[in-house]
């Protein structure tokens, strides 16, 4: 932007700051139409726009700024972008600059750009900055390019960072890989096992699609059934319901075997669901046997039996039918 226009813009900002309160402003004329001329994006210009705009009450504008930075990232000067990222300390701005570097990496404009982001996610002194850089890697292919970063993040001293990292693994598996990339699934399970925070472990496992789980990670997942946290046991039971065919038999055996000794009602519900997913209609005889173990679980087991007997052949649709049934009850 020409310098004289930058000056006008600064004055415009000042004018807005000095404007009277809304109640008094009613009689003022409507805002003047801005001169909307496009120009090449620059790191400094975008940073200025972002710094002012990220606090805007308009979601539309904030989303535009996010998008424009990611889109412009590939053609912005690499050195300037890295320098701005290194200098920045405001977590919100760090997140934007990190996302720009990740976008460069994702679009192969600069494959290694993501390494600078990963380093900062692991090493920055400010936990808010570490959390922000982790968020910037969400729904990307970061886990394929960052080695053991996620396992290390699971041991971060900040619960916020650990939870953001878990959220990345969940969303990457779900939205980037659609559950079809075994190494991504294994990374999530390994991170869950490495975590010493039961909340994070449970969050990671409960929504993980394990259809492509590797045998080694499968063994680790089975081990999580013995965890002292009921939340972790519950989520491990749910995750085991989805394992590949080759791991189904031991998973079923483990879930059925555990049901009788388990005291926690939430875990028992998850065990029943895992057994249902592993067997579909074939699980009905086993579920009938388990019905007498705990009378309070009988309605839940009956609901599953009814749904499984419908003969629907897809797990997602069986889950939906179960929800419908619960809605009716």
């Amino acid at each position: 932007m020409p310098r004289f226009l930058q000056g006008l813009r600064a004055l415009g900002g000042l004018a807005l700051m000095l404007a009277p309160p809304a109640a008094l402003a009613q009689s003022t004329p409507p805002a003047a139409k801005p001169a909307l001329e496009g120009e090449s994006c620059s790191v400094r210009g975008l940073m200025d726009q972002l710094r002012q705009g990220l606090g805007s009450s308009s979601k539309a504008y904030r989303e535009y700024l996010n998008a424009v930075l990611r889109e412009a990232a590939v053609s912005l000067p690499s050195g300037e972008l890295h320098a701005a990222f290194d200098r920045e300390t405001d977590p919100a701005m760090v997140e934007q600059l990190a996302a720009a570097l990740v976008a460069r990496s994702e679009r192969e404009a600069e494959k290694d750009a993501i390494q600078a982001v990963a380093r900062r996610a692991l090493e920055d002194r400010d936990p808010s900055v570490r959390a922000a850089t982790v968020r910037a890697m969400r729904r990307t292919g970061a886990l394929e390019k960052t080695g053991d970063m996620y396992e290390r993040l699971m041991r971060d001293g900040s619960p916020e960072v650990r939870m953001e990292a878990a959220q990345n693994l969940i969303e990457d598996n779900q939205y980037v890989y659609s559950g079809h990339h075994g190494p991504a699934t294994d990374t999530a399970v390994n991170a869950a096992v490495a975590s010493t925070d039961p909340k994070v472990t449970a969050k990671l496992l409960e929504s993980l699609d394990t259809r492509k789980l590797g045998p080694e990670a499968g063994q680790k997942l089975l081990g999580m059934l013995g965890h002292e946290s009921a939340d972790v046991r519950r989520s491990a039971a749910l995750a085991l319901g989805g394992v590949p065919a080759a791991q189904m038999a031991p998973a079923r055996e483990a879930l059925v075997g555990m049901y009788r000794g388990e005291r926690d009602a939430g875990v028992r519900k998850a065990l029943v669901q895992g057994i249902a997913e592993l067997g579909f209609a074939d699980a009905v005889p086993e579920l009938r046997k388990l019905r007498s173990v705990d009378p309070s679980m009988a309605p839940e087991i009956d609901a599953w039996i009814r749904v499984l007997q419908s003969g629907v052949q897809e797990w997602g649709l069986l889950l939906r039918e179960k929800q419908r049934l619960q809605q009716v009850r």
């Binding site: 930058q6 801005p34 496009g38 994006c41 989303e63 994702e106």
Partner: protein
Amino acid sequence: MVIWIPMVPSTPTQTPVSGPSRGRGFRWVLAGAGLAAVVAAVGLLWRGGDDAQALSASAAPVNATRSAGSHGGGGGGGPAPSGVEEAEAAERRFSDQTCFPELARFNDGVTLETFRDWAAPLLASKDPLVRDYLMSKLSELIGDDAGKAGQVVAWARDAQGAEFKVLLSGLRGSDAVQKPQVAARLLEAGMDKGLPIERRAGMLSALDTQKHLTPDAMDRMAEFARDPASTEAGWAATRTLGRVMARESENLGDASPYLDRLITIATDAPDEQIRHLAQTAPLHNSPVLDAKTTDRFARILQSEGNEDGRDAAAQVLAMSSDKEQTLKLFADSFNREQSVCVRWALFRFSARVAGRDALPVMANMATVDPRFQPLYRTFETLYASGNVDFIRIWNELPDQNPFGCMDRHQ
């Protein structure tokens, strides 16, 4: 087999899709992982998607083929370029994104009254990010104010080109569009014979974010879709019915009133593309079919002249609650069917009807048509190895397109 496909659907001839916007990511999915060739063909037709896509009922085929993206592990051979070289090369490779430093002032100062005047130069820039911003900003300006929404409907009656799309997309995304009087006004505009047909299509498409449609609205849209003169507006009405049905289902609501109307369109619409759209609508919410709906879809399977329609009917019928009757219908239809693609649908969706219990029926089909022998053995092996979920079975198939049926849509 894992392949890369873009997030936008591969397009059948009638799918209203604009090209993928720059910067969109790519996702890993299995080839045709949704389910069948017919789903791959219809793609994400019913899902939310880009507003501009939703509002453009004109065909805009895109070549969806892209090279593998940045995922997928290891790089190729040869020395890696240095960071600087790589960055410089990238700067040459990618075109510049335009920035609008004054957009902050636009954002802070624009009102509904000034929107059209102020937005005009931005729209003229043809920048897709700015266009998306304008749509969302307009939704914010409308808010839940029915009066403002009505004003935008009035503007949309004569707005042109990109502005027309922005106005209706902004309206479609606003809270106010859920108000009965706003939805009614859009429907009236969609039914207004005095408006050009593509404008009516846009009005009807803007109803596709509704949480519910009234029985009267459903009836009018279904009747309109069966009118030979409705063309692309009838197509848009059908798509809106399908999208709202899918949303109702997602929210565990009752999809049957929508399904009822869609089957009527699927059976009676004279336009083959509209009929096909209605036939494929239930693929996106997979309703369990009662006896009456099963019978109506069975008639489509037996009488539809378009093989894509029969293919879709087989997939929908696989969710019938009467498994035995459906397997018998599939077996009989397989014997009579001439198209190998529809036979392939009847064969594989038998497994969706009854899982492992369908194997004897599938074995018979493979006897009738020996081309299905190796496929039968694959299904048998997959069930024997412990798989139970049809989606898993489908995803484990070494070849999901053994007869080249998916290629019909490319």
